[in-house]
């Protein structure tokens, strides 16, 4: 309690009381003490002895102590070993580029390889090649990781034991001797389809020398049936190539020509006819008929769900309509010969589709999926013939080939004990052969099997020899592009583990020179110049031989073969129903036929449609799931043709009813760490007479919620938010700037910024435009970014926890067109849209203001830059990022074993990733994985945030060379469009355009002026540098459901403006 002490008044009267002897004595000392103890006024604030100097001294000492304490934390030590002798041309840290190409079943993909100090780190398309625009597919992007796959085969293996290369040479010499002796009797080679002129030359030579030997090819996803039909109707050595630039109307009958059946050229050409950069553009129109959503179906203007087993019947119906209106004699005969399956189809759909095809006769095209039976191909070819497609939209090319036998023949020959010695080049027949061939057992019956394989796999284990195969980046070779252009395969590095290429092995068998000599020999046939050496140099330098594409064939469509072809059509299968369910085996978008199962980038890549990672699943429609009483993640047993398989199911919007799709390629059993125990092996159900689909499947529930499916995107609906904006061509012509007035953007109050920002005054101002009209969603950009920017994989469990590290993701939304609540198929048959999403480099970035340590700041050229060294990982920037494109290193994904699991130890930890062991787990990246890393991009440690940088390292490299060019005083602004980001460079559809928005000549500036250009979340005043071009669809107004196409932003009142979020039905995946 505070009491005011009253000093005893001087004029004391009466009796005097005292409290102490001192008071009584009233000495001066006592008075002064009294004065001090009880001063009347304010306390006398005597200054104490602490001077400014002493204060600073103390503070300094405490800081120094703090410094000593903190200096205990250090970065790990690292060492750099310099070259003792410098390598010619080599500047450490500066990339050297070489042309090469990647072999593929439909032809090579022309590539440019970026190498650092002799290590290939990144692959780009070769834009010099006429059929390429510098884009690639995602397999080419990911193939560089295969080179450094720790799981690849490293040694020769004989009978399960390691052997040396010399021992194999000795063995090969004995084989050659035997071959000489027996003219090749009992000897066979099984290969995958490839378009390599040198390989063809070797094979011909081999066949010449050893005529008794057998050559067989097998591609699990082959196009034998298609080729059969083409051979029957056109003759041998003929191939058909669709010309998408010439086609106005395209009907795809389960042909995923933009997806898994794509070539870079087909995507490029299709998107050229899709791009709308003005009002007068002539867009193509795509009709798709398919059982599941494919990339192609997502791009379609009209899409019809149809079970795969009904596609042949559909083709016949369509042919009937086309025949009726064209009155084509051949087609009429075809239609007359075939029976109708009795499946009800949407008659109006077929009628109007056919009418559209016929109306643009000569500019229309019908495509059929590769693995349908030959007779269906015959029908479709006859239809194309009636539509005048040959020579215009469907080019007939003469493609010389080596005659080989089919896998079926090999099986027959093996059963007949005709094969004593089999060389298997690539492929993985034990895993991927049709289940009814029982090839695994059959292969054991062959006395000697020599396997040339990239990794030790299912086929290697029962083989006598396993020979490590060299990666295509390690060996010489050649390819022809899908259009026939002759491409070199140049080695970037010596074989890391001393592997052999197919050509090496063939050359040894045939006794021919291998390596570069072989390619030079083949190149002579493509060279038209007199000076061979300079032509050869140019060939390697520019990566292709000029005018080497396939010649147009001088053959006519021969309808006389049709009746025989059509005779092979069996009785048409009845319509699918709850009692007659079909199962379809599509190729996987990520690991193809299973060959990429040990590629971590591809395994972690979300499937473009389902967004599943590290898994496959049976997708089925919602009503099928309801009829079968299944839910996401339920484990079921599929039975078909007496074979059984357990797999998880997943409900997929847009899937045909009573049809199941299970992608091939999963469930490998002899595979590296990455692919171990992932997914369900659809090959177990696939037989030789049902390469694509099988009917009469039974489905039995094994376990409710028995399998955890992991998706990177759990929410399917856009929730009525105009993130992707689209309109039809007509609407666009009426209101070109429609995208700017959609939804909230119709009324944005003027914004005021609280903060002043550093000036954006650099000579270049970077920006990006993403064209949603051409983006097909193939995710090549995702892998390109991963390769370029040293992005680690994190494993299934971490993806499940929401920690995938991709800097760019492709958002996939299903959108039921508004306004049609009465349509029972609203959820079953939605539209699908794709939207690549990466850092938008907001000028007014929400992430920057909230970072407490200034680790994310803005550069003068408009980049939102991330300073890893400064980042302490508060994650506030990510929380405040409206696009959630920032990625956080929750663990040391680069330095701790992501794929290894904890075998034993603490209870509760078993089976978890070794990431959870913390310091007890081994530290450091393995040497092989290190080699892939881009030296110009920091490898991030745990605890830091990262995100898209607009490929800052590429901008800086360009700036450095511009500085060198310009000198000290010159113009430091970069030439127009001289920098490409990795995603842009990889995009075959040219949907991502990066450049200087300050430069009016740049492509990005020009695109930004287009009326359909819009900013995302503009109302937040974040001023994004990345903008989007709205999607424009080209529906046929006469088609049923045409009103629903292209209006996903329209609410139920038909009002595009001011609409509140509509209560769209939740279409969450199982995890939400």
């Amino acid at each position: 309690m505070k009491t005011v002490f009253r000093h005893p008044p001087e004029d004391l009267t009466g009796k005097r009381y005292w409290r102490s002897l001192e008071e009584l004595a009233d000495t001066p000392e006592f008075r002064s003490w009294l004065q001090r103890e009880f001063p009347a006024g304010a306390a006398d604030l005597e200054l104490d002895g602490v001077s400014r100097r002493n204060f600073l001294r103390l503070m300094g000492a405490s800081m120094a102590l703090a410094g000593i304490g903190l200096s205990g934390c250090r970065r790990p030590e690292a060492y750099i070993a310099p070259y003792t002798k410098s390598v010619e041309w080599l500047v450490p840290g500066k990339a050297v580029l070489y042309t090469t190409s990647m072999p593929g079943p439909k032809g090579g993909v022309p590539l440019i390889a970026t190498t650092f100090e002799g290590r290939p780190t990144k692959l780009e398309g070769n834009p010099l090649v006429p059929s390429s625009n510098g884009g690639t597919d995602l397999f080419a992007q990911a193939s560089v990781l295969d080179l450094y796959d720790p799981g690849r085969a490293r040694t020769f293996i004989r009978d399960g034991e390691e052997a040396g290369a010399q021992q194999f040479d000795v063995y090969l010499a004995s084989v050659a001797k035997d071959l000489e002796a027996g003219k090749g009797a009992g000897f066979a080679i099984l290969m995958e389809e490839q378009v390599s002129p040198t390989r063809d030359r070797f094979l011909r030579k081999l066949k010449e020398r050893f005529p008794e030997s057998g050559l067989y090819t097998y591609n699990p996803l082959g196009f034998e049936e298609h080729d059969l039909a083409v051979a029957a109707l056109f003759g041998p050595d003929i191939a058909l190539r669709a010309d998408f630039e010439a086609a106005d109307i395209i009907v795809s009958l389960d042909s995923d020509f933009l997806g898994i059946e794509q070539t870079v050229q087909s995507v490029r050409d299709f998107s050229r006819r899709r791009r709308v950069h003005g009002l007068g553009q002539d867009m193509n129109r795509l009709y798709a008929v398919e059982n599941r959503y494919t990339i192609t179906g997502g791009m379609a203007d009209h899409r019809l769900r149809c079970a795969a087993s009904q596609i042949p019947a559909f083709a016949v119906k369509l042919a009937k309509e086309v025949a009726a209106s064209t009155n084509d004699r051949v087609l009429n005969a075809v239609v007359a010969q075939l029976k109708d399956g009795g499946t009800p189809f949407d008659e109006v759909w077929i009628k109007e589709c056919a009418a559209d095809l016929v109306a643009r006769k000569g500019k229309s095209l019908v495509l059929l999926g590769d693995r349908f039976p030959a007779w269906v191909h015959g029908v479709v070819l006859a239809m194309n013939n009636a539509l005048g497609a040959f020579g215009s939209t469907l080019r007939v090319l003469s493609v010389p080939r080596v005659k080989t036998s089919s896998f079926r023949d090999l099986v027959a020959d093996t059963k007949a004990r005709a094969i004593k010695r089999l060389f298997i080049f690539g492929g993985n027949p034990v895993y991927a052969a049709p289940a009814d061939f029982e090839w695994g057992e059959l292969q054991r019956a062959i006395p000697e099997v020599v396997r040339l394989g990239y990794s030790f796999d299912e086929t290697s284990s029962p083989s006598k020899w396993h020979v490590p195969e060299a990666h295509y980046l390690e060996s010489w070779g050649d390819q022809r592009a899908p259009d026939g252009t002759y491409l070199p395969i140049q080695p970037m590095i010596l074989p890391l583990f001393g592997g052999l290429s197919q050509l090496d092995l063939l050359a040894k068998l045939a006794g021919l020179p291998a390596d570069v000599e072989a390619i030079r020999e083949t190149f002579k046939t493509f060279n038209q110049e007199s000076d061979f050496e300079s032509a050869w140099t140019r060939f390697l330098r520019q990566g292709f031989a000029e005018s080497s594409s396939y010649q147009a064939a001088k053959v006519e469509f021969n309808p006389n073969a049709l009746p025989d072809l059509l005779k092979t059509a069996g009785p048409p299968p009845g319509p699918v129903s709850p009692g007659a369910i079909e199962i379809v085996f599509p190729a996987d978008y990520k690991i193809y036929d299973g060959r990429y199962a040990n590629n971590g980038w591809l395994q972690e890549l979300p499937d473009p449609i389902t967004k599943i990672t590290w898994d496959n699943a049976i997708s089925l429609s919602k009503s099928t799931a309801k009829a079968l009483q299944l839910e996401d993640g339920d484990l079921v047993e599929i039975g078909v043709n007496g074979r059984k398989l357990q797999a998880a199911v997943m409900i997929a919007p847009g899937h045909a009813d009573y049809s199941l799709s299970l992608p091939l390629g999963y469930g490998r059993w002899v595979v590296g760490k990455v692919g171990q125990g992932i997914g369900f092996n659809a090959y177990a159900l696939r037989t030789s007479d049902s390469p694509y689909f099988a009917t009469g499947a039974t489905v039995n529930l094994v376990q409710k919620n028995g399998h955890r499916l992991v998706q990177t995107q759990n929410h399917y609906s856009m929730e009525g938010r105009a993130l992707v904006r689209e309109a039809t061509v007509d609407e666009f012509k009426r209101n070109p700037a429609f995208a700017k007035t959609v939804w909230m953007d119709a009324e944005i109050p003027p914004n005021v910024s609280l903060y002043s920002h550093p000036p954006l005054n650099a000579p270049n101002q970077w920006g990006m435009v993403v064209d949603l009209n051409t983006c097909i969603g193939c995710a090549a950009c995702v892998i390109a970014c991963q390769a370029e920017n040293n992005i680690p994989i994190v494993g299934k469990d971490q993806v499940d926890r929401g920690r995938e590290m991709h800097w760019i993701r492709v958002d996939r939304y299903f959108a039921s067109a508004g306004g049609d609540k009465n349509n029972p198929h609203l959820e079953e048959d939605p539209e699908m849209v794709m939207e690549p999403m990466m850092c938008q480099h907001c000028e007014n970035a929400p992430c920057e203001t909230v970072c407490p340590v200034n680790a994310t700041v803005h550069s003068e050229d408009g980049l939102n830059v991330m300073v890893y060294n400064r980042c302490i990982g508060t994650r506030y920037c990510s929380n405040n990022c409206p696009f959630k494109v920032r990625r956080f290193n929750f663990f040391s994904y680069n330095d701790r074993p992501v794929m290894d699991r904890i075998e034993k130890g603490l209870p509760g930890f078993q089976g978890k990733q070794q990431l959870y062991l913390g310091p007890l787990a081994p530290w450091g990246m393995d040497e092989l994985s290190k080699m892939q890393k881009n030296p110009n991009v920091s490898v991030r440690i745990r605890g830091v945030m990262e995100k898209c940088t607009y490929c800052l390292q590429r901008i800086e490299t360009a700036k450095v060379s511009q500085r060198v060019k310009a000198g000290v005083k010159g113009d430091l602004s970069l030439p127009t469009d001289s920098v490409k980001t990795a995603c842009q460079q990889a995009c075959p559809a040219e949907a991502i355009i990066f450049g200087d928005i300050k430069d009016p000549k740049s492509r990005v500036s020009q695109l930004r002026t287009l009326p359909q250009n819009y900013h995302l979340l503009e109302y937040l005043n974040i001023q994004t540098r990345t903008t989007y071009l709205a999607r424009i669809r080209n529906p046929n107004p006469k088609m049923p459901g045409a009103a629903r196409v292209g209006n996903i932003n329209v609410d139920e009142h038909g009002d595009q403006r001011h609409s509140a979020p509509r209560a769209e039905s939740e279409m969450d995946g199982g995890n939400a």
């Binding site: 309690m1 009491t3 103890e37 009880f38 001063p39 306390a43 995107q713 759990n714 929410h715 856009m718 929730e719 938010r721 993130l723 909230m744 926890r801 929401g802 920690r803 993701r809 958002d811 996939r812 939304y813 999403m837 203001t849 909230v850 970072c851 407490p852 340590v853 200034n854 400064r870 980042c871 302490i872 990982g873 508060t874 994650r875 506030y876 929380n879 405040n880 409206p882 696009f883 959630k884 920032r886 990625r887 956080f888 290193n889 929750f890 663990f891 040391s892 990431l915 959870y916 913390g918 310091p919 440690i941 745990r942 605890g943 830091v944 945030m945 974040i1022 509140a1060 979020p1061 939400a1072």
Partner: protein, 476 residues
Amino acid sequence: MAEPDASTVAFVERMPRRPLVLNNHSMAWISDRIAGIVENKAPLWWWITISITGSFAAFGTFCMLYLLYTGVGVWGNNVPVGWAWDITNFVFWIGIGHAGTLISAILHLCRQKWRTSINRAAEAMTLFAVMCAAIFPGIHVGRFWMAWFLAPIPNPNWIWPNFRSPLMWDVFAVSTYFTVSVLFWYLGLVPDLATMRDRAKGKVSRIVYGILAFGWRGGNRQWRHYEMAYLVLAGISTPLVLSVHSTVSFDFATSVLPGWHTTIFPPYFVAGAIFGGFAMVLTLMLPARSLHKLQDVFTWDHIDVMCKLVLLTGSIVGYAYCMEFFVAFYGANPFERFAFLNRYFGPYWWASWTMFTCNVIMPQLFWVRAFRRNWAIVFFVSMCANAGMWFERFVIFVISLHRDFLPSAWRMYYPTWVDVFTFIGTIGIFLTLFLLFIRFLPMVAMSEVKGVLPEADPHYHPRTDPESESRKEAHA
């Protein structure tokens, strides 16, 4: 001084002020009872309790070390939900740390004498809560060994912290608050430490208390300085009580996230913090007063007043909840609308409804006087408020983050065992520190309580007191 006039005397006689210490205890009784808690042997229950809380604290510390050595990934945080239990716990503990300083500073300035019997313990609770809170920003960062980047240390690179970042404001606000709270608490302890020193029987305790007492003699001059310093610190603390949680709320209010970007946050957070803080004081003091037989010092009147404050602040919080909801509707921003609908009807609806029930509905029981004086109900409601305030933070952070602008990025958040045990660990640390506090320091401010005894009043007239004779005897 003039005698009070007749009407005042009549009023006082008709409605006497309720005594702040019951049963006319003497000053000596107070010293004996309170110092006795420290001086006597620790009771069995203390040993049992501290071994339990200590184990939780130890395991929690293990979890934190595991986190620091392994990575933030051992928690359940993910990309849309960058902050989950970590910041929930941080704000929860910071909120708890509001009652103590409010009681000691604001009530001191308002001359609310009833504060004296609870302020010491409440302030100690504040400190321990702030300590628990401070753990989380420290360990939740990805690279804790670089956390010193947050300090504005001059360096040759000219790199400074980002003073625009609310997290930076947080660092200053919380550290200032903690520093001032420590000073305030310790200053109040000095006279009592001197009492402990003077009463100490053992040599060690005499030396330790002697050092801690800073040579306090109880002289008038010391009291005068003490009171002035106490007043000044109360003055400094008062705005801090309001500013700390306002600043903490800026972490969210200044962001662009729907559900965070709200101007109502500062007052709403402060009210919530006081609400939660008082609930925690009640939670701790109800058992403490029974176990240490302090019912006469910490009376039902104290509990009653605190319950009223809980009711008031709980209702303010309830108002804020409703107002948020209304503004989300009225603002016509679809993102905001969605955020609030999702809060109550989305996948985490149970968390929001728990929050609403615990924070808004349960405190309404305190309208009834009988409930405010029933220990079971008071304890129950304050436990509800503790849980409710934790859920409030969970709701604001996790639910807002898990579904924001782009539906493609939406994702659920699930805690891991490390999340759970880190939180339980901080509860363990908090309770352990509190138990140590009541073991080694006087848990009631003896000197201040003596100051509010009737005898301390200079105008105290024993003749009005019928029991004055017995009191005199006690004095002697």
